[in-house]
């Protein structure tokens, strides 16, 4: 246990500062911005609307389609080449799976709900920020939902279990690092996104997941507050 002082001085279970705002893209049916430290995610929801290409329509229920994109100037270092790549496609897919359990599209056969996640600035934890923004945007769009989805990356750096790793911690070189993006349904505590890369013991995973539950509860409060703030303004 040598990583007991975090590089940026945070406590083990402390996230970077979080800001959330709902209604940031006027054209969209629902939208939100979620900022955690230097990572900024915008999410815009369009739909339910007619699904094209038509062969992807599902006559039983509506389809959720998530698109994740880093803006060309958003990367740490080199310019990110515009357009989809294998990484962004996979993240779009796991984002869909993370959100699907809470939304009900049974009333919208053959339709699609499109979620577009865009990142103008990144410093690790982008898929989690994207999921947080997307779930707020879905709620803002009035999609029927059982719960919000809160998401954070937890992990172990040199055997210390910490929350919300930043880029420097992901790249820590003096000990093993494990990065675990997790999405949690705050009310049931169930996990809808789980990925991990690095080195981790079974015990450490268990502790990490307990930590993620606690952190996601806090994120959930921020999400709720942002949603309420938009509608309070509207009612004035």
């Amino acid at each position: 246990m040598t990583y007991d002082k975090r590089l940026d001085g945070r406590k083990a279970d402390e996230t970077r500062p979080i800001e959330a705002k709902v209604g940031v893209v006027k054209n969209a049916d629902g939208s939100a911005m979620f900022k955690i430290g230097s990572t900024v995610a915008y999410a815009a929801v369009y739909g339910p609307r007619e699904m094209y290409p038509r062969f992807q329509q599902n006559p039983q229920k509506g389809v959720l389609r998530c698109n994740y994109n880093m803006m060309p100037f958003s990367g740490h270092g080199n310019r990110v080449r515009p357009g989809p790549n294998r990484r962004s496609k996979e993240i779009g897919m796991v984002t869909e799976k993370a959100l699907l359990p809470v939304i009900d599209l049974s009333k919208f056969p053959n339709a699609v709900v499109d979620v577009f996640i865009e990142l103008p600035q990144t410093d690790a934890g982008t898929r989690c920020a994207g999921i947080c923004a997307a779930s707020m945007a879905l709620a803002d769009a009035g999609i029927i939902m059982k719960d919000l989805v809160a998401s954070v990356a937890v992990g172990s750096v040199d055997h210390s279990i910490i929350a919300d790793l930043n880029y420097d911690e992901e790249a820590y070189e003096d000990g093993p690092v494990a990065d675990i993006p997790v999405a949690i349904l705050p009310n049931s505590g169930k996990v809808t996104l789980l990925q991990m890369d690095g080195e981790l013991s079974r015990e450490e995973l268990k502790k990490s997941l307990e930590l993620s539950k606690k952190v996601c509860k806090d994120i959930y409060e921020v999400q709720k507050k942002a949603l309420k703030a938009k509608f309070e303004v509207e009612s004035k």
């Binding site: 006027k26 054209n27 900024v40 999410a43 100037f73 310019r79 600035q121």
Partner: protein, 258 residues
């Protein structure tokens, strides 16, 4: 084209007003914010009414082209994310975003806004490439002017990164700005019936006869033009549109200073 909508817009213009109550030659509220993303070497957010555009500048090192061994280079791109409008689709860049990036590229390049010779580090071996990417957050009309204004603002905001062993050291920004010689920006003038308007709303963009994007530098010299739309323009009309473009360019320029 929606004929009823066009008729309505023209009838309003006959009385000198627009759909949103503006005068024909009046911009919506314009705001410019610098340094909006840390991961870029320079960036800006421009809002024109409900239109919002983020532009970032990334600096790269490259071996100069054989025909210009002592010059850096410039690249301008625009990605119309479907986040910004229900009318944008996923997939490869459409012709609208290609036209936008090329017109803005010409405005910056031909005005010699950036002194490309000063971006040469070792003749024939190592030069800076300025890569400008525009990303609309919300597309609510007049992306041309928002794009051009945010591009030049992001250029002004840029600080060169450090260099280590002929590689870019992105973690260590210097205090050196880009060698900006001129400040080029554009005003797009649209023709609907016999009327000329600027800063069109999406509803207006759909029913225009023609548009002319007029890029000017601070002395009022033209540096790029692009005609769009399906109807022809007379020389007199073009002259009026250019006059309006130059005049309104001065107004926009003031937004960069504050």
């Amino acid at each position: 084209m929606n004929k009823a909508s066009r008729k309505h817009i023209i009838e309003l213009l006959d009385k000198g007003i627009r759909l949103d109550g503006r005068k024909p030659d009046q911009y919506r509220e314009v705001s410019v914010e610098f340094d909006v993303t840390r991961s870029a070497e320079g960036s800006a957010r421009v809002k024109i009414g409900d239109t919002e555009m983020i532009t970032g500048v990334k600096m790269e090192l490259f071996e100069p082209y054989p025909d210009t061994p002592d010059q850096g280079s410039l690249m301008v791109g625009a990605e119309f994310s479907p986040m910004a409008s229900p009318e944008f689709e996923s997939g490869p860049p459409g012709i609208e975003s290609i036209e936008l990036s090329r017109v803005i590229d010409r405005g910056i390049r031909e005005s010699q806004a950036i002194d490309l010779k000063k971006l040469c580090l070792k003749k024939g071996e190592l030069c800076w490439m300025v890569v400008i990417d525009m990303a609309p957050i919300n597309a609510a009309g007049n992306l041309f002017d928002a794009g051009a204004l945010s591009a030049i603002a992001a250029i002004k905001d840029t600080k060169l990164p450090g260099i280590k062993d002929d590689q870019v050291d992105y973690d260590n920004k210097t205090e050196d700005p880009l060698p900006v010689k001129k400040v080029a920006l554009s005003v797009t003038v649209c023709k609907i019936g016999k009327h000329l308007i600027i800063d069109p709303l999406p509803e207006e963009e759909k029913v225009i006869d023609a548009r002319l994007t007029v890029a000017t530098d601070e002395s009022g010299e033209l540096c790029a033009l692009q005609k769009g739309g399906e109807e022809p323009l007379s020389v007199e009309e073009i002259d009026k549109m250019v006059e309006l473009g130059i005049e309104k360019g001065k107004e926009l320029r003031a937004k960069l200073e504050s």
